[in-house]
Amino acid sequence: MTRSQFIISERENAEYLGRESKAGAQKFIKPALDFAHGVKNKMGAIVDRKALSLMWSNYKAIMTPAGDLHLAMAFGPLIFESGVPNTRGGVLVSPRPWPTLFNSRTAERAFVEDAVGNPNGRFEDCAVFYKDKYTQERGFYWEYRRIDPRSTLGSLKRVYGGAFSGYPDSSAEKDTAAIDCLVRVAEECKIDPRKGIASQQKRLQLRADELVGHIRERIGTEVTKYLKRIAQLLMDPDTKMSWSMFGNNCQKMVNRLLGGKDFEYSFPRLPPDFGLQDGAGDDARFRWPRYLISFGNHIEGLGISIDQPNSAFSRFFRSKSTDLDVVEYLEAAQQRAPKSFPNWLSQLIICGNTDMDTNSSLADASDALWELPRDAISLLQSHLLLPAHKYCTASGQPLTDSQWIENRLRILRLLDIFSSLTGGLGNALLSMFSSTPSLISEVTIPKSRIYGGAGADDRILLIKAVPTPYVVYLIRRHKGKLAMLDSKQTAKCEKEAEEEMRNLILKSSMSGVGHSLRSLQKLAVQCARVLAHVLQRYLRFGFPVTNSFAMSRVLAETVRYHEDSWVTIDVGLFVIAQQILRKTKNVRK
């Protein structure tokens, strides 16, 4: 291939990339072209092979922000995905493989149909939703498909619905009814070696119907809301239905199904006049999904999510490892560098921990749940999807039956601890707002894109740009202590810098921060100067405080544009984030 074949005009590039994302095109094409010939806006420039490769990798980042992976969205036991063969380019809705509650021996003992061991496999009714190429009309059909085991690398939690978490308070009785029902029907379905398997299976199906009735009573209303929301998105004319690798691949479809206003906030927004009616009246006015925590209404990827440097999942996705699932990847990382591996993560890996004293290690693991809740709950969910034969003891032996049950119970207990504390938090907040509705206007419900990836060691300052309805977030991610300072001094330095930056942002808010990107950049330059001054004071040597012009150039390179008008600017220890021209509202009509 000769150099002349690489001649590309910038206009062509811009048009090509502009179809995907204008912001992305600006961000990615510019450095690629600069890298190639060092001159901006030059038509018909010769781009060399390295620049092309860089451009291609940047374009790939726009096209598949989550990496070379197939993404599917799971809502409870259903999976929604596009890009599956023989679906007419549409969306396939299929039941997921069952959570791994049994290993091969316990499954045999309990007569669980094992899809892996069964040569015919498990067949279920699936729905394919598609758009006809010629008539442009949307239709769907049912198909009886084989549900093969999936080689899931990891399951990233986006919305924690809080089923059976005791949230909201008004559902406590229904929770109890479902639990009582399970205790009762399980007694009637104990395996009896004197009876035939077929008759026992038939009885199990009947009792399962009864249990499902109670579950439906408890979560049926919420399930309808979630499914209605998904149906609305699929029927929306703005939703591209036909799959294409470049324009509308599986990742874009999942991002679309998660997006919108429903999961934009970490906790669901409240209906107007909340608290003026009784509990049931308030409940009925939530016409949108009433989840417990949202970790983000988007997929994790370049140009979409806001970076969390301590996230194990982010590291796993960046590693582009498709040979290992997330648990194996973390185990390998732990074996390679056991000293530098975070203790909280090793508590949650769970495999091989069966030799430990269960109660003491459970206390540590329950503490580990809160270090980075999104990763912790996602890891637990991933454990429930991995095949049983991937688990073994520290010496490589397969788990015995009692060890296996202990392993599963440990995961379920951690899930219960998570649900209990988050459910308690949700109930406490709702009770406070319903007893004192005037408080609703005095708080700001946090946005899930910022708080979804927050860890216990982070610090997030939420600064309202009064009188405008815009909010600026000042985030300090925990990245270890500053070199040359001990931890006490580091904390003091950070606190001082935070305080000064907070005052600065509050002062600037009066002059309209949030109205434009320019004003935010100006603010970031001022913040950087404040930070440099504070560091100079602490480090006591010639830390260069550069002039505004030089600093603004440096900061311009750290500006990152994310989906939904989010902009972040890295200012040393801190990240300033804002959703340009988007209001924050506590009440949803």
Binding site: W98, Y144, L211, R336, S378, A428
Partner: protein, 295 residues
């Protein structure tokens, strides 16, 4: 038997779509409910001790996270004193740990399906182009009776391959049969012999006379293992153990033959040290001598 041999296409409306999705959802829940009942009976039969979960209420990390979630919200604490909201959260959560063991077990089992959660499942996908930056393949030392392998001055190396997909295993973990079931295909695998010449330099060259006595055990890579364990030669699940790969260690940096002029891969880089260069050498020979893949 397939009850719907020819798909019947229906026009999509909001109503029909919602109804269809709901039907599918509850049918799937029923299947999982059957497993919940069986699992509940199993854990009660084994006997489980759920004491000590309430210790989680004293978690300092949760307190810190609570501070992050509610930080900068002075309005939130107007209805309480400074720590009142946190106390309220702990009280409400603590009530759930007081129920008896069977009811707690039932609650744990009901939560296993995460019925109201939205998750993103990440799965391997077709790659648009091969990535040369992926992990290099694992190699193992081969012992045999032929003159090269029997010579203690020589080391014969062979790639570790998956008996199911036939590809070299690049991940640090794999699953190996510990009962001695052999992978017949491994006899045909090319290998590399590294020897010391008269001047004391290590030299690598292709080695093709591995004897049947040095067949490797049946192995399965983690990616194949995700859809079930076992391969031709061993289908017994209980035989497999997970292995964390051992890297053979060699002193010195061996010289290996120059790549053919047609070599277009990045496997001939000479900048790495010891183990990496051994792996690269093996990879090099594999690239130019494709392995037969058994489907």
């Amino acid at each position: 038997m397939n009850p719907h041999p020819v798909p019947e296409v229906m026009p999509a409306t909001m109503r029909s779509l919602c109804d269809r999705l709901e039907d599918m959802y509850w049918a799937a829940v029923k299947q999982e409910a059957c497993n919940m009942i069986k699992f509940y009976n199993m854990i009660l039969a084994v006997g489980c001790d759920l004491s000590g979960d309430d210790a989680a209420l004293g978690s300092q990390t949760f307190r810190k996270l609570f501070g992050v979630w509610t930080g900068g919200q002075a309005g939130l604490f107007k209805g309480y004193d400074s720590s009142g909201l946190f106390r309220d959260v702990l009280e409400r959560s603590g009530q759930r740990f007081s129920s008896d063991t069977p009811h707690r077990c039932a609650r744990l089992v009901l939560q296993s399906s995460s019925l109201l959660d939205l998750d993103i499942l990440h799965e391997p996908a077709f790659r648009l182009y091969p990535s040369y930056r992926r992990e290099l393949p694992n190699v193992e030392e081969v012992y045999g009776d032929d003159s090269e392998a029997a010579n203690p001055e020589n080391v014969v190396l062979r790639g570790v391959r998956c008996s199911r997909c036939g590809l070299l295993i690049r991940s640090p973990f794999y699953y190996e049969c510990q009962s001695g079931c052999k992978d017949a295909g491994s006899a045909k695998l090319p290998s590399v012999a590294i020897s010391i010449d008269a001047s004391g330099k290590r030299k690598a060259r292709p080695h093709r006379s591995v004897e049947s006595s040095s067949l490797s055990n049946v192995r399965v890579c983690p990616q194949c293992c995700a859809t079930g364990i076992g391969a031709d030669g061993c289908r017994q699940r209980d035989h497999f153990r997970r292995k964390f790969h051992y890297q053979p260690y060699m002193e010195g940096k061996p010289e290996f033959p120059p790549p053919p002029s047609s070599c277009c891969c990045y496997c001939c880089c000479r900048c790495c040290s010891c183990c990496w260069i051994l792996k690269l050498t093996v990879l090099h020979f594999y690239r130019h001598d494709p392995i037969p893949v058994h489907h």
